[in-house]
């Protein structure tokens, strides 16, 4: 058969073509190899490095929060979780990748570990079924699956990461499991820091609570080194506003890992976590407690007295007017922040947000209400400072006055009657008695003017100036989220927002804090404190000191003066056409002095006389307020009857009147008369303050 072709039995050109194909393909591969390894080598090298390196965030400790006496308001406590690291078990926990064989084919040693652990912690060794649905819905600590199933899921995801089997177990049980660690290979105890609030609901409105990083802020917090699925951030209160101070900074380790996520070694020096700073608040927990008891006690008393739920919310704030330190801040109703410590339970949160009295809402700083007669102070000092009346000028209160006014510019004028709260009238009133008796007619006259007496009236524009000088109509800047700014209307505001002209009657009722005027409870306290502190507006604050983790003071307390109405020209001067002249002026110190005397007279002779007569504290001053309101709740109950509207109860007071060290405001929603509901609360808080002071002095 060897007769075909001398050289080869195969056609040479056909063989050469195949060889050519070999060279072509191998040449192409060599080119691709060169492209991948040499041309793009650095890119792939970087990808390979990314594969094997992982940044591990080392959790830091959040700072504690203390009250002014060092009493703990927020701290971290250890919570123990039982974990299993699948790779450290004495056998394969996922038998050939088949979940259905978990109960039959599982290694005997592994089953032994599961059984022993199950007996200790009560989680069944095997329960439930592994399928797409259960795996997708699986969440550690909140599952009905058994140990075998949980470990199976963990083993298929990250066999070297500890997986939580049972959470928040007893410390003693954790110790027991630790001591049995030799018999339980793969089982571990994870210590997790959980926020604890020893004072709970008493200070919840101030301290707040934590929650997981919100979806919308993940980038922000990730940039600060937080791990969204692990670390928690402040959601409310001081926890939220002081997040940056309390939060600290997570540490970081750059480690080499293999494909299953097992850490092999540190690639660089680890960055140690920096613990958060501690905060000392200005709050005195004892006074806070007294204030809360006084508020709730008073509300309960009247609800029982009337045999109906008349008032369901209120607020009390106590402050040192000379420094701005908030000593107590009670918002009622409130919530229990310890229930949010581990996670925010859906049913509890639902319950809170569907409660019509809004427990999550801070009634002391976020609620806006008509202030009523406590707002007579800006009218009163405005009238004196602007020379509308002299202190000794007497105006008559016959119980009601009638003025001619028109509701629209084109309508004919009509007689309109404004009444005093005292139907028979107060008779002739000078300035100081007008304030002390909270004489409505006197304030109509000095605020809106009364031609028959020859009083021009302060007018709406100038009233706004004095209200703002006393802190109304703007945020105070307290370190709590969600502060409201209140509302001090001007004629312009009414034209824009209500589409109506400002009427003389609007000035009348604005002069006594009704109508469109709204303020927060804190603003009322600030207005009183400015006058009590001789015109100095001290920044209200909850933060006394910032301490580092070792307890050294990082930022000591310094009272901050916002302005002094007797020195800083905060009052704009208007001409006769109510246009700004561009000039500004101060409030005369004698006006402020008279205002203090008037507030003292409220207690000794005026509307609050009865409340303070038998008090241990006989050197206080104050002002009552009974503010008519008609909101959606009152309307729904059909309470808004003209001439007989429901009323909020207000009172602010301070002591000692000549050298004040505490100023307190109380507000009770639908509480009725300020003198009978709010004033006793303030009295109780001020009495408690001096009692505590005596106790501290005795130590």
């Amino acid at each position: 058969m060897n007769h075909i072709g001398q050289n080869s039995p195969l056609e040479r050109w056909r063989l050469l073509m195949v060889m050519g194909l070999v060279v072509l393909v191998v040449g192409y591969y060599a080119y691709k190899l060169f492209d991948f390894q040499v041309v793009q080598g650095a890119v792939y090298q970087a990808q390979a490095d990314e594969n094997r390196t992982t940044r591990i965030s080392v959790p830091t400790q959040r700072g504690n929060i203390y009250d002014r006496n060092g009493f703990v308001l927020a701290r971290n406590v250890a919570s123990y979780n039982v974990t299993i690291t699948p790779a450290n078990l004495p056998g394969d926990p996922s038998v050939g990748g088949d979940a259905s064989k978990l109960t039959t084919d599982l290694d005997a040693d592994v089953q032994e570990v599961y059984r022993k652990l199950s007996a200790l912690i009560g989680v069944p060794a095997s329960a439930g079924e592994i399928n797409d649905e259960t795996v997708r819905l699986f969440s550690p600590c909140q599952t009905d699956l058994g140990i075998a199933q949980i470990v199976y899921i963990a083993d298929t995801n990250a066999p070297y990461d500890p997986m939580r089997i049972a959470c928040n177990i007893d410390a003693s049980l954790a110790m027991t499991i630790q001591s049995h660690s030799a018999e339980l290979p793969g089982v571990g105890i994870e210590v997790e820091a959980v926020r604890d609030y020893p004072t709970g609901s008493l200070t919840a409105a101030i301290v707040g609570f934590l929650g997981p990083v919100p979806a919308g802020q993940q980038d922000y917090f990730r940039a600060k080194g937080f791990l969204p699925n692990r670390d928690k951030v402040g959601y409310a209160g001081i926890e939220a506003t002081m997040q940056d101070v309390l939060g600290g900074k997570n540490g970081e380790r750059l480690v080499e890992v293999d494909v299953s996520g097992q850490e092999l070694r540190n690639l660089s020096n680890p960055v140690e976590p920096v613990p958060g700073n501690n905060l000392v608040l200005t709050i005195d927990t004892r006074l806070q407690n007294a204030a809360q008891q006084a508020l709730i006690g008073e509300i309960d008393f009247w609800n029982t007295y009337f045999n109906e739920i008349r008032s369901s919310s209120g607020a009390v704030i106590a402050m040192n007017p000379k420094t701005g330190e908030i000593l107590a801040l009670v918002s009622y109703p409130t919530y229990e922040n310890n229930r949010m410590a581990r996670f925010i339970p859906a049913y509890y949160y639902q319950q809170l947000i569907s409660d019509p009295w809004k427990p999550l809402f801070n009634h002391a700083i976020s609620a806006e209400h008509p202030p009523g007669s406590v707002f007579k102070m800006p009218t009163a000092i405005g009238a004196l400072n602007e020379g509308v009346v002299t202190p000794d000028q007497k105006l008559n209160d016959p119980g009601q006055i009638t003025v001619m006014q028109r509701n629209l510019n084109n309508l004919p004028t009509q007689p309109f009657t404004y009444v005093c709260w005292k139907a028979e009238g107060h008779g002739d009133m000078d300035w100081i008695h007008g304030v002390a008796n909270s004489c409505d007619v006197y304030f109509y006259k000095i605020g809106g003017g009364y031609a028959p007496d020859g009083v021009a009236g302060l007018g709406p524009w100038r009233l706004v100036e004095y209200a703002r000088a006393l802190g109304y109509g703007q945020k105070t800047g307290i370190e709590l989220p969600g502060e409201a700014s209140g509302l001090i209307p001007t004629p312009d505001w009414k034209r824009i927002n209500q589409g109506e002209s400002w009427l003389p009657g609007d000035t009348y009722i604005a002069s006594m804090g009704q109508g469109y005027i709204l303020s927060t409870v804190l603003q009322v306290l600030v207005s009183a404190s400015i006058l009590a502190n001789d015109g100095k507006y001290m920044q209200p604050t909850l933060i006394r000191e910032v301490l580092d983790p070792e307890g050294n003071v990082v930022k000591p307390f310094e009272p901050k003066l916002k302005w002094d109405i007797t020195k800083d020209p905060v009052i704009k001067v208007f001409d006769e056409n109510n246009l700004e002249t561009g000039e500004t002026k101060v409030v005369q110190p004698w006006v402020v002095q008279l205002a203090k005397e008037a507030m003292r007279l409220v207690v000794t002779e005026g509307t609050a006389k009865g409340v303070w007569e038998n008090s241990k504290v006989q050197n206080s001053a104050g002002k009552t307020g009974t503010a008519e309101y008609c909101d959606n709740i009152a309307r729904a109950k059909d309470l808004c009857r003209r001439g007989n509207w429901p009323t909020h109860s207000w009172y602010f007071g301070y002591a000692p009147y000549d050298d004040p060290e505490i100023a307190v405001v109380a507000f009770v929603y639908n509480g009725g008369e300020g003198a009978s509901v709010a004033a006793p609360i303030v009295r109780s808080v001020i009495e408690s303050y001096f009692e505590l002071k005596a106790i501290d002095a005795a130590k």
């Binding site: 080869s8 195969l10 063989l15 490095d49 299953s260 092999l264």
Partner: protein
């Protein structure tokens, strides 16, 4: 048969190349195991298979290859029986029944079938040398091939089926397939491709093609960039592994991609990537050159062979080596979809290595008995 004279023409260079590649393969497998305890035994097994392979080469080199020509029909029957035997005694691994458990070792009959088909087809084309190159000749050679391939397709094992068809076609070509038929083949191929794509989008079940095979093609054409496992992930990691090798490599046993097991199926399908990563461009080109050298030595044997049967055996085996190498490296370089073909001599696999050794033995037998121009 055992004359001293015989060994004068033994191709020591070819044998040497195979030895170097096989030993290098063992070293590479050892590195690719990367501390995986369940795979640790594979190195020893491979060493044993390498030793067996050397013996197999020597034995087959000693046997006159012409002997196999007379055995061709018997071998053909044995191949079919072994393949059918899988359905009766077979062991299913990784989804398809490809293994025959002999009690001692698992044998993959389709590996042996490749070598048998080289002998059978070489015999067929050598015998039909005088015949006209017409359609009847082509179809009868195709049916001969299909008689074996059918059982492999049914396993299902598409890649081995393709390998055998490639051997058939390459032999058809070298035996003088008229060029006009080449165009006809190209036309048929295009039509089949069109039908295939049509079926692919119509969603009808295509015979002999499993869903996972379709998925491989889809993955190749439209990769899912977020895949964390499966073929797309494997190929992507293979590229990262190759690329991270650079010019001179990370060094033996020290490529993080390999040693930290980011690269999957490291000791078989993706051993090329592991090698590229640890030995770099320079080292890989050297190994590639050695493989090409072995292939070209087979073609040399083909052109020197004493008769067409011997020439076709050497040539067919050369094509087999080339095709397997080209497909395996192509998968590693992501130029063709993932298939299960291994890298000749280097990838782990006993059946594969032993059948390759049989092939080399046959080629040596051919070259030993060539009729040189000795006067």
């Amino acid at each position: 048969m055992l004359q001293r004279e015989t060994w004068k023409h033994f191709d020591f260079l070819l044998f040497g190349g195979v030895i170097v590649l096989s030993i290098f393969g063992v070293a590479m497998i050892r590195s690719a195991i990367a501390g995986n305890e369940t795979l640790a035994g594979l190195v020893t097994r491979q060493v044993i298979f390498v030793a067996i392979s050397f013996v197999v080469i020597i034995i087959l080199a000693m046997i006159d290859y012409r002997y196999w020509s007379s055995m061709a029909r018997l071998l053909y029957v044995i191949a079919i029986l072994a393949l059918v035997g899988i359905y009766i005694f077979g062991t299913a691994l990784f989804g398809s029944a490809r293994w025959l458990d002999t009690g001692l070792i698992l044998i993959q009959p389709s590996e042996i079938a490749k070598i048998i088909m080289i002998i059978v087809l070489a015999d067929f084309f050598a015998r039909t040398r005088e015949r006209q190159r017409n359609l009847r000749w082509i179809i009868s050679s195709f049916l001969l091939t299909f008689g074996v391939v059918l059982w492999i397709l049914l396993q299902p094992n598409l890649s081995t089926s393709i390998v055998i068809f490639v051997i058939w076609f390459s032999m058809l070509w070298v035996s003088g397939l008229p060029v006009k038929y080449l165009w006809i083949f190209a036309g048929i191929g295009l039509v089949l491709l069109g039908v295939f794509i049509g079926l692919l989008f119509s969603g009808v079940k295509i015979p002999f093609i499993e869903d996972y095979q379709l998925q491989r093609i889809v993955n190749f054409l439209f990769p899912d960039p977020n895949a964390r496992h499966g073929n797309t992930y494997n190929v992507e990691q293979a590229l990262v592994t190759i690329g991270s090798g650079g010019l001179f490599g990370q060094g033996y046993g020290s490529s993080p991609q390999v040693q930290l097991r980011f690269l999957k199926v490291r000791h078989t399908d993706f051993i090329f990537s592991a090698m590229a990563s640890e030995f770099g461009f320079v080292g890989t080109i050297l190994v590639l050159a050695l493989l090409v050298f072995v292939i070209l030595r087979c073609f040399r044997a083909a052109s020197l062979a004493a008769d067409p049967f011997g020439a076709l055996i050497a040539y067919g085996f050369g094509v087999l080596l080339f095709f397997q190498m080209a497909v395996n490296i192509g998968v590693n370089l992501n130029v063709i979809p993932v298939t299960g073909l291994t890298l000749p001599f280097i990838s782990y696999g006993g059946s594969s290595l032993v059948s390759l050794a049989i092939g080399i033995g046959l080629v040596e037998s051919v070259i030993i008995r060539h009729k040189p121009l000795e006067f």
